[in-house]
């Protein structure tokens, strides 16, 4: 090697050394930044999880107690004289004096209670709706007439609140409970005739002014009907619109305009759809107010953009080679879509639909506008019966003064969250199961 090339080699080596040392110097700082970045990511996720945990803990701690209800055991005699009936049939039972039977049972239990005021306080131990339970029992078992049996009846909500506050560490909440009443309660509890049992009323009754009688059944059924109407309308319309826009529509200004409008509609505040429903469905078409049919129509309008957008995305994701192969075989356009594209796009469409339904389930504002804010006691039997939905029920209970409604509001929120989580889990499971690789 000549001198010139030798020195050139040295120069190259020196340069390499400089380069390497510079890289080394920077290395520490780069690793540090890497760790910082990862830390930020973990912190973000941690924050999210923390928020969810706080939310769930708050709701569950407030609502868990609503799933048990204080009940009192009574020795009830179905005395025909007291009931003022001579036979067991529907008409007589409607007028029968079951309250009298309950009061007789209470008097028997506490024979020392005298005086009108004290007696009234005694009778207030039991829920005012307990009579209906007895009527049901007698109607189902007519042979009980004249017999005595032991039944568990719901206690009044004041008693319930007092008993539940006893189990908490801070001072028992007396409220409207006098010392005397507290004495009776504690006595009954000691004798095992007052217990907290599973609150079936919560799941079997509709709304009521009395908290111990209040349940979510009417709201759940109303929600179910509304969701069914929404699904039955929005899924076919949304999928058909997506198929037309994606496969058949020409690409011109009009279709661009339609696409922009659909994207915009997905972002419109939901209460606007409620106003629309009020103006068109209730005022113009004179549909029944507060019915799941109208609620479903309003929610359909609301979820349609979501379903169209997600359906289009899943149609786009079908590879064009499949379409070409089908067309090359001589399939007509409709056959290409029905036989090949739709089955492959269906998982995405279903996922989008379930997510849209989960959104619709939690909607309150548009349904308030069409009147589903009413106080509905009866469980609806059809889509045109007046009804309410679960989020609205929660909203109404949150406004009620009785303490017992506080825990019931949280319990209803728990039920709503459970349904939503189930639906979203179904969506994820469905998507995983139907995923096809091609």
């Amino acid at each position: 090697m000549t001198d010139a090339s030798n020195s050139k080699m040295n120069q190259v080596q020196i340069n390499q050394q400089t380069v390497r040392s510079r890289i080394e110097a920077r290395l520490a700082s780069r690793h540090r930044k890497e760790k910082l970045f990862r830390g930020l990511g973990i912190a973000s996720i941690g924050f999210g999880i923390l928020a969810v945990l706080v939310l769930f803990t708050d709701i569950v701690s407030k609502g868990a107690s609503a799933f048990v209800q204080t009940q009192i055991q009574l020795q009830v005699t179905y005395d025909p004289a007291e009931l003022d009936i001579d036979k067991v049939d529907h008409e007589s039972l409607a007028w029968a004096n079951f309250d009298g039977v309950i009061r007789a049972a209470l008097r028997e239990r506490f024979p020392d209670v005298r005086g009108r005021r004290d007696k009234r306080e005694l009778y207030a131990l039991v829920s005012s709706g307990a009579g209906f339970n007895l009527r049901e029992r007698l109607e189902n078992n007519p042979e009980l007439l004249g017999q005595t049996e032991t039944v568990w009846v719901n206690a009044d909500d004041d008693v319930d609140t007092y008993v539940k506050s006893l189990s908490k560490d801070d001072e028992a909440f007396m409220g409207r409970t006098s010392e005397q009443k507290a004495g009776w309660i504690l006595q009954l509890r000691e004798d095992g005739e007052l217990k907290k049992r599973f609150n079936t009323t919560f799941f079997t009754n509709g709304d009521s002014r009395e908290p111990e009688q209040a349940g979510i059944r009417a709201a759940l059924v109303g929600s179910l009907f509304t969701l069914l109407v929404t699904l039955a309308l929005s899924f076919p319309i949304g999928v058909a619109a997506a198929i037309y826009l994606e496969e058949f529509a020409p690409k011109n200004r009009w279709t661009d305009l339609i696409e922009v409008n659909i994207n915009n509609l997905a972002a419109v505040p939901s209460i606007v759809f409620g106003l629309l429903g009020l103006a068109i469905f209730i005022n113009f078409f004179e549909m029944p107010r507060s019915a799941p049919l109208v609620g479903g129509l309003v929610l359909t309008l609301m979820t349609l953009p979501t379903i169209i957008i997600s359906s289009r995305a899943s149609l786009k994701s079908v590879p064009p080679s499949i379409r070409e192969a089908a067309m090359g075989m001589g399939a007509s356009r409709m056959q290409v879509v029905l036989h090949h594209v739709l089955p492959l796009a269906m998982p995405g469409m279903l996922t989008g639909a379930i997510i849209g339904m989960a959104q619709a389930l939690g909607e309150t504002a548009p349904l308030l506008m069409i009147g589903m804010v009413a106080f509905i006691v009866d469980v609806p039997h059809g889509v045109t019966d007046p009804s309410t939905v679960l989020p609205v029920q929660i909203f109404l209970w949150a406004d009620s003064p009785e303490r017992a409604f506080v825990e019931r509001t949280s319990a209803a929120i728990m039920v709503l969250l459970a349904v939503l989580i189930t639906m979203n889990t179904c969506a994820v499971w469905l998507r995983k199961k139907l995923e096809r690789r091609w």
């Binding site: 067309m327 075989m329 001589g330 399939a331 091609w438």
Partner: protein, 291 residues
């Protein structure tokens, strides 16, 4: 088929072309197709075909005949319009936005284009095999049976079974898949998938099979099997094949058409094209001076 050693030279590097080659390449005045573009007993006749993608013209005034039970290979450099031309024959260009086809194309003297022509039975008569194997994500049986079912060729199970077996046998795939007809078609190897696509195409008893670079995604052994297959299929079908590989064109075809920048430069017997081409552009291409 004679084996020929072709002097496939390196791609032309900048600055090493002669002035003559430059003028040849940019010369847009290829007025007439040399050789024998027409035949006596033509299955497909194309006259004065022009294809436009929007404003840009992709095919300039091409006229060609494809004879009965003949294999015609279309060769040419990338972007010369051979795939576009092939897709005109079964109207697959209809699916492309902004694509306009002018000219007279006939199949057995019946027009292919025209407002009254139904494209669905046309595609049953002119089948297509694509560059990348694209079996349906269904079972092997359903893949082959799809065509007969939708065209109403057979509906009963026994008839369909027969058609499926015949098609798979003709495609040379029967022995490999007869025990797993209900398995998904996408689970096969690349070469098997392409043969499945060929079986699918012949299940509807077409008259013409168009093949758009059918072996470019396959390994040499699978390629060899498919070339064997093309030779066997020639007995019953007319085949037009687009290929990038000149060796393949030399092996499988009887006539070869050379395209250049959307024009048909030369059409001749395969042997003539590869040993004694008439046009200088053809010679330049096959000797590897460009392409």
């Amino acid at each position: 088929m004679t084996t020929m050693t072709l002097n496939v030279g390196p791609a032309v590097a900048a600055g090493t072309e002669t002035a003559e080659q430059e003028s040849v390449k940019t010369n847009a005045e290829i007025v007439k197709t040399v050789g024998q573009p027409f035949s006596d007993d033509a299955k497909l006749k194309m006259r004065n075909v022009n294809v436009f993608y929007g404003e840009a013209q992709a095919i300039h005034n091409v006229s060609l005949d494809i004879g009965r039970n003949e294999v015609v290979a279309m060769i040419g450099p990338s972007g010369c319009g051979k795939s576009t031309f092939l897709r005109c024959l079964n109207r697959m260009n209809d699916t492309i936005e902004g694509c306009r086809v002018e000219g007279e194309l006939t199949l057995d003297d019946e027009p292919i284009y025209g407002p009254k022509v139904d494209v669905v039975p046309l595609r049953a008569r002119v089948g297509m095999v694509f560059q990348k194997p694209n079996p349906f994500p269904k079972s092997i049986y359903d893949n082959v049976a799809y065509g007969p079912k939708i065209h109403g060729i057979a509906s009963r199970r026994a008839e369909l079974d027969e058609i499926v077996e015949n098609s798979l046998r003709r495609a040379g795939l029967w022995n490999e898949v007869k025990d797993r007809l209900d398995k998904p078609g996408t689970g096969l190897s690349g070469g098997q998938q392409q043969r499945l696509c060929i079986a699918r195409a012949i299940a509807v008893s077409p008259e013409v099979i168009l093949m758009d670079e059918p072996c470019s995604a396959l390994d040499p052994i699978a390629t060899a099997r498919i070339e064997e297959l093309i030779d066997e299929l020639r007995e019953n079908y007319t085949i037009a094949i687009v290929t990038h590989s000149m060796q393949q064109a030399a092996r499988v075809s009887q006539r070869t058409a050379y395209f250049h920048l959307g024009k048909l430069v030369e059409v001749n017997d395969t042997e003539t094209v590869f040993t004694n081409p008439e046009h200088e552009l053809t010679e330049a291409y096959i000797t590897g001076r460009f392409g």
